[in-house]
């Protein structure tokens, strides 16, 4: 019953396990769109998209996204862009960087930004506690980033014709993920409590049984070889085997 109770309790309390995911694509573009202009060289935009993907993981952009999505920024974290030397196996993240990863480990809203190799497109993926929440945050990425860029443009008095323009490529696509996570956790809790309970019961019972056996054996030894026991200290002077030798 305890095992079933713990499994049920865990399943009910794990409401913030992420089950929603959404993805959205953003095009880094010029006012005269690259898509519509044959004379536009896309290379500077592609390299800029890679920079954007990295900047979008920063707290500055996350704050803007959180504001638009109406989610506390402390519940958000971002990773990426997983390019360059960092994508190799066995990334030797030192303690200082790992500490910061751990601080963000429990944030329920997680975002990943990935810049495409040959086009100025950034794919953003959102993981959230539910599908609507994931869709909501994914929808806020474009607006939040745009707000950040506009603030810099305003600060630097960027001419209209030179302004970097972000375009959202379609609406966010959302779906449910991690469907079996809660069940897995509940099953693990059930089995763990069951095994630990059985071990405790068997262990205590076995210990008492063994103690009684040994006590009986001590009585027999004392009967046949009373000198093996120090009456005052209840401490054997020599073991029975040694005594016989």
């Amino acid at each position: 019953m305890l095992a079933v109770g713990s499994a049920a309790g865990l399943k009910l309390s794990s409401h913030s396990v992420p089950t929603g995911a959404a993805t959205v694509q953003i095009l880094v573009d010029a006012p005269t769109s690259e898509l519509a202009n044959l004379t536009q060289n896309p290379t500077p935009l592609i390299s800029r998209a890679a920079v954007f993907a990295q900047v979008m993981t920063s707290q500055a952009v996350l704050q803007n996204i959180a504001e638009v999505a109406k989610v506390p920024v402390t519940q958000m974290t971002a990773q990426g862009p997983y390019s360059g030397a960092g994508e190799s196996l066995d990334v030797i993240t030192p303690a200082e960087a790992r500490s910061n990863q751990l601080v963000a480990e429990k944030a329920p809203y997680r975002m990943t930004f990935l810049a495409q190799q040959n086009e100025p497109v950034i794919t953003a993926t959102v993981q959230a506690p539910s599908v609507p929440a994931a869709e909501q945050v994914a929808g806020a990425i474009y607006t939040g980033t745009q707000n950040y860029v506009k603030a810099i443009q305003h600060e630097g008095h960027t001419p209209e014709a030179d302004k970097v323009t972000l375009r959202q490529l379609g609406s966010p696509q959302a779906a449910s993920v991690n469907g079996s996570s809660r069940t897995t956790m509940a099953a693990a809790a059930f089995l763990a409590v069951l095994i630990i309970g059985l071990l405790v019961i068997l262990g205590i019972e076995g210990l008492f049984k063994r103690d009684r056996e040994l006590e009986g054996l001590e009585r027999e030894i004392a009967e046949f070889d009373p000198l093996a026991h120090d009456a005052a200290a209840r401490r054997p002077l020599v073991s029975a085997g040694e005594r016989r030798r």
Binding site: S14, P18, T43, L45, S47, R48, V51, T57, S58, Q59, S83, G84, A85, G86, L89, D90, V91, I92, T93, P94, A95, E96, A97, R98, S99, N100, L102, V103, E105, A107, R110, Q127, V149, I152, Q153, G156, P159, D162, V164, S181, T184, M185, A188, L191, A192, I195, I196, L199, L214, E215, E218, R219, A222, E223, A228, R234, P236, S239, A240, G241
Partner: protein
């Protein structure tokens, strides 16, 4: 008449040890959490929590690259990334670290600075290692700054770690301010035209947090209960030591001698019992088949590697035998200390996943832990089956089988080393879908040929061969004929040669430990066998694997052992995983959830367990080894010499267990199934050695008594009217022999 109880000690004498133990446990708990000082007297909290902070800077110009399409080209991005690298290196310089130290209140002490780590700087085996001069500065290692750039983007990341969050934030902000001041000074002294000035643009405020906020109390509680548990066990053992010694002696005296003939014994290989044959087949698979690289197209809830269906088949056979067979041929399930230790470890592993499920789901690591739990369950199920099936007289024969199979693996390894042909992968690849591991037949970063044998890791192969070595050495010592002795000595030579061919340090370290341990128990025999024949063994190793021994010895030389990446990376991990250890010190982050491909290859099972199942899980893992060793100990230390054969086999098994315990510090043993399966098989051998041989009796099928009709008016199952007169004896039920 009931014998009189031994006289009871006074209450004070009985309570004094318990009081002393409680005091000792309390002192241990306080010592874990606080460090005492004598002058002035006091207790100071140990630094078991970390403040962490992070900030990012964009290396930009006045017309921001993010805002203005006219300002940036690919060339400028590269230039920005080069500047970011320069700034990262500037911030870790002596002057900058001293300045930051002064500004955050450390006085004359500098902070420690490192990075950038993403570019993998300072990680080379080829650069000449110069002697390191003593550090002239007074550096406080508790205050750390890490700078990082990826070499491709103009973004500089600053990370800090300090005893408190406030200090960590101060380090990051001081570093950022210092860099901005440095650039301002440069630009004032050397003005640049147009928009060429570099602008360091902060990408948002500094984020910070505390790692290991409850670690101190958790560790103190753990220390208290660990001391109470160990101390209580020792007190109980001491209190009952006479009876225990007597009991152990009488239990051993009751065991039959393995070398005495037992007429009609139904023992493997002279048996028609199916289970021992199935076990032998499984062991053969462990040695000869790269089963972990064979994924069968089966729809199983866990990985479909070859061992799973084979284990499922073994389990079904075991259940069928339990259900159908009676008498001595029926598997005997007696739960002992090894069973309990393995189950307790498994339960804690499950608990770690259940308690951290949300974080694991966040990091999409639930699937990984489930796979690893299934693998762990496989090991334990295999142990339960093997321990219930094996008989004491079969242990020696299975040990001989293991040595034979080990020699085949060693020969295959030598062939792979000399001819670059992996027999196991190539031959099985013709009939089964074998996936070759990455780096097959390639040279690693320190110039070693990667040898796999039937495994997925050269270290696993070296450990597997070392595990067989004690059985081969003791086989040579205990051999009854000259021919047997020569064969075993050749086997020892080939096992050593096979291990050395892997060119891993483990291939010499673990066998050396094995030989030393054997020598501790049986010095004369070991020196007579191994010592006298060391020249022969050396010749076998040298001629079968030429150059390999020199290569391994070279790695172990004092000048190399501490400088090779294989060593420095291992030692670097101890510091790097500190935040993970402090995050969940007791129960860990979830069994085997620390993905080596995502975070860091640890090459240390203990470190991995400390992170994933915490101190409790690691202690229970060690308890498994302790249970195996303690189960074998009475047999080894039997001074009466009742059964030297059992003692010898128990010693070989114990040394194998210790070899795996040492190997666990050198690689993540539980992730590579050859070694754990073999370890649990050796544990099953220990369990079998502790039991007496069953009486000679043929296997019988269990037959239910025939249902006798009680009459037309009686419901089935109810007793019918008893006929008058004497009760007839039921006809003898026929128990057919298992064919």
């Amino acid at each position: 008449m009931r014998p009189a109880a031994p006289p009871r000690a006074s209450r004070w004498r009985r309570l004094a040890p318990i009081g002393a133990l409680c005091t000792l446990a309390a002192i241990a708990a306080v010592a874990i959490g606080y460090s005492p000082t004598i002058a002035p007297p006091g207790l100071h909290a140990r630094s078991v929590q970390l403040g962490a902070a992070r900030s990012q800077l964009l290396i930009d110009n006045t017309d921001s690259a993010l805002a203005d399409i006219g300002t940036q080209t690919q060339y400028q991005t590269e230039l920005g990334s080069q500047l970011a690298l320069s700034y990262a290196l500037y911030l870790r310089g002596d002057a900058a670290t001293a300045e930051i130290g002064r500004e955050i209140g450390l006085g004359s002490r500098s902070i420690s600075a490192s990075g950038p780590f993403t570019l993998l700087l300072e990680r080379t085996n080829y650069a000449r290692k110069l002697p390191t001069l003593p550090e002239p500065r007074n550096v406080d290692g508790s205050y750390r700054l890490l700078t990082d750039v990826d070499g491709a983007h103009p973004v500089l990341s600053l990370y800090a770690q300090a005893p408190t969050v406030h200090e960590a934030v101060a380090i990051v902000e001081t570093a950022r301010g210092l860099l901005e001041r440095h650039l301002d000074g440069d630009q004032t002294d050397h003005p640049l035209p147009g928009n060429s000035d570099v602008v360091v643009r902060p990408l948002g405020p500094t984020t910070a947090g505390l790692v290991g906020s409850g670690a101190r109390w958790q560790l103190m509680a753990f220390g208290f209960f660990a001391v109470m548990l160990v101390g209580g066990s020792l007190l109980w053992a001491r209190r009952r030591r006479t009876a225990r010694a007597h009991d152990a002696k009488s239990s051993i005296a009751k065991l039959d001698r393995l070398d005495d003939p037992l007429p009609g014994a139904d023992e493997w290989p002279h048996t028609r019992r199916a289970l021992p044959w199935a076990l032998a087949a499984f062991i053969a698979m462990l040695f000869l088949v790269p089963f972990d690289a064979i994924a069968l197209p089966l729809h199983l809830p866990v990985n479909g590697t070859l061992d799973r269906p084979v284990l499922i088949a073994l389990g079904m056979l075991w259940f069928a035998t339990l259900a159908v067979v009676s008498g001595a041929a029926r598997p005997r399930m007696r739960l002992g200390r090894i069973h309990y230790a393995a189950l307790a470890f498994f339960a804690v592993c499950l608990l770690s996943v259940a308690l951290n499920g949300q974080a694991l789901a966040n990091m999409t690591e639930v699937g990984l832990t489930v796979k690893k739990l299934a693998l762990l369950a496989s090991y334990i199920v295999f142990f339960f089956i093997a321990a219930s099936v094996l008989r004491p007289r079969e242990v020696a024969r299975f040990a001989a089988l293991m040595v034979g199979l080990g020699v085949i693996v060693a020969l295959g390894t030598i062939i792979e080393y000399r001819f670059h042909y992996n027999l196991f992968y190539e031959l099985w690849g013709t009939v089964l879908p074998v996936t070759k591991p990455n780096g097959f037949d390639t040279i690693d970063s320190i110039g070693r040929l990667t040898i796999y044998g039937p495994t997925l890791q050269p270290l696993e192969l070296a450990a597997m061969l070392a595990m067989v070595l004690p059985f081969a050495i003791l086989g040579a010592i205990d051999a009854k004929t000259r021919r047997q002795r020569i064969l075993y000595i050749v086997a020892v030579g080939l096992l050593l040669a096979g291990g050395v061919a892997t060119a891993r340090k483990t291939s010499l370290v673990v066998p050396a430990v094995v030989i030393v341990l054997l020598a501790c128990y049986r010095p004369r025999d070991v020196f007579r066998t191994v010592g006298r024949l060391c020249i022969v063994l050396f010749a076998i190793v040298h001629f079968t694997s030429p150059g390999a021994l020199g290569s391994v010895i070279n790695q172990l030389e004092p000048g190399h052992v501490n400088s090779a990446l294989t060593t420095t990376d291992r030692t670097a991990r101890y510091d790097a995983v500190t935040p993970d250890l402090l995050r969940h010190p007791l129960i860990g982050r979830g069994y085997e959830s620390y993905d080596p491909q995502k975070y860091r290859i640890l090459d240390n099972q203990y470190l991995d367990l400390l992170i994933t199942v915490g101190a409790i899980g690691t202690l229970l893992y060690l308890t498994i080894f302790a249970a195996m060793i303690s189960a074998a100990r009475p047999l080894i230390r039997d001074r009466s010499g009742h059964d030297p054969r059992r003692a010898s086999l128990a010693l070989a098994a114990t040394v194998t267990v210790i070899a795996v315990a040492i190997g666990s510090a050198l690689f993540d043993v539980l992730s590579f199934p050859h070694v754990p399966y073999l370890l649990f098989f050796v544990a099953a051998m220990i369990v079998a050695l502790r039991e007496a041989s069953p009486a000679a009796e043929p296997a019988r099928l269990r037959v239910a008594p025939p249902v006798v009709s009680a009459g037309p008016n009686v419901a089935p199952g109810e007793p019918g009217p008893q006929p008058p007169g004497p009760v007839p004896t039921p006809p003898e039920t026929r128990e057919p022999v298992l064919v």
